[in-house]
């Protein structure tokens, strides 16, 4: 690998760079080490003194710094939109599993409730959501839209015949809509909207984790 002409100090530096860069994906790591090696070969004359070599190594900076520069900077947004458009898209964290989970949580309950449970399982096994997201996804609303449907056509709502009779001159009714009508409609609308809100929330949260993950983890090839 290292040509015999390379100064021992420079060779030692390269060895440190190889160690420091071991977490990089291997094609990029090899390329980086080769480039630094070329650089050293180009800037260090064959008869260089130790002092000259050390000066050059100082100019290059610590291997750890160079490896650090491979990682995308937090808060360093790609400056021009043209760059964002041309950048290779990394494999998204919000992948198929997350989308299927969101859809199943929303409408999976219609498949005899089983679909919703599969959705919940996918929700809990995904790494794209935090514990809080998963609790929200599970509890609002268990069963998803199917529950709304169930509530709407629950036997206690429609099947109890309304019986009215006159007792001591006062008209009393039993059965029928047994809870306050307005409250019922409000609850029904809320339970209809809530699953959609949760689904949107989960989709947004999965996208956020994707971005956070991109800056927090070592993913040099992605930017």
């Amino acid at each position: 690998m290292t040509p015999p002409t390379l100064h021992p100090l420079a060779a030692a530096y390269l060895a440190r760079l190889r160690t420091a860069s071991r977490d990089l994906p291997s094609p990029r790591r090899d390329e980086l080490v080769a480039e630094i090696e070329d650089h050293l070969a180009a800037v260090i004359p064959p008869d260089a003194t130790d002092a000259q070599v050390l000066t050059e190594l100082d100019r290059l900076g610590e291997p750890a710094e160079i490896v650090e520069a491979e990682r995308p900077e937090p808060g360093w947004a790609t400056p021009a939109p043209t760059l964002a458009a041309t950048a290779a898209e990394p494999p998204p964290r919000r992948g198929a599993q997350e989308w299927v989970a969101i859809v199943l949580l929303l409408i999976g309950g219609f498949a005899w409730g089983v679909g919703w449970f599969i959705g919940a399982l996918m929700l809990w096994t995904s790494r794209a959501w935090t514990l809080r997201d998963k609790l929200i996804g599970t509890l609002i609303i268990p069963g998803g839209l199917a529950l709304t449907w169930l509530v709407l056509f629950a036997p206690w709502v429609i099947s109890t015949p309304r019986k009215c009779g006159s007792v001591d001159g006062h008209e009393t009714c039993t059965g029928g809509m047994s809870i306050n009508h307005t409250l019922f409609v409000v609850l029904l609308v809320a339970s209809f909207i809530a699953p959609f809100v949760t689904a949107t929330y989960l989709a947004i949260r999965a996208g956020r984790t994707e971005r956070a993950g991109r800056t927090a983890t070592a993913a040099p090839a992605t930017n």
């Binding site: 040509p3 291997p63 710094e65 160079i66 360093w76 021009a80």
Partner: protein, 115 residues
């Protein structure tokens, strides 16, 4: 506060650095080491030359520059960098934005807000 100022200056520097690379390539291709050396010698722009190689790699992956290997009269083949049409476009856009940005910041730093 001092640490924070240093962070924002280094972020600013990193943000513009890639366009400095593109600008150096405007007049034609250049040898990678020469490119790094030129940037390293510009006052206050780069603290460590080695960190420019990751930047060059990024620009290449983003398709803003492309490279060719050329035989060297002395030593191993050399990697030369040149702008792609996308890189050229990015540089033009940045140059326009930068001119406005610089004028505004300079104006505020020197005289305060204009009435």
């Amino acid at each position: 506060m001092v640490a924070r100022r240093e962070t924002s200056i280094s972020q600013l520097r990193r943000g513009v650095l890639e366009f400095c690379v593109l600008a150096l390539l405007r007049d034609g291709e250049r040898y990678g080491v020469e490119l790094v050396r030129t940037l390293g010698e510009a006052d206050g722009l780069v603290t460590t030359e080695g960190t420019l190689y990751p930047l060059l790699g990024r620009l290449r992956r983003e398709g803003l520059v492309e490279t060719t290997w050329r035989e060297s009269p002395s030593g191993p083949p050399r990697r030369y960098y040149r702008l792609t049409s996308e890189g050229d476009e990015a540089l033009r856009t940045f140059s326009r934005d930068w001119a406005r940005f610089r004028t505004s910041v300079d104006g505020l730093l020197e005289t305060g807000p204009t009435p």
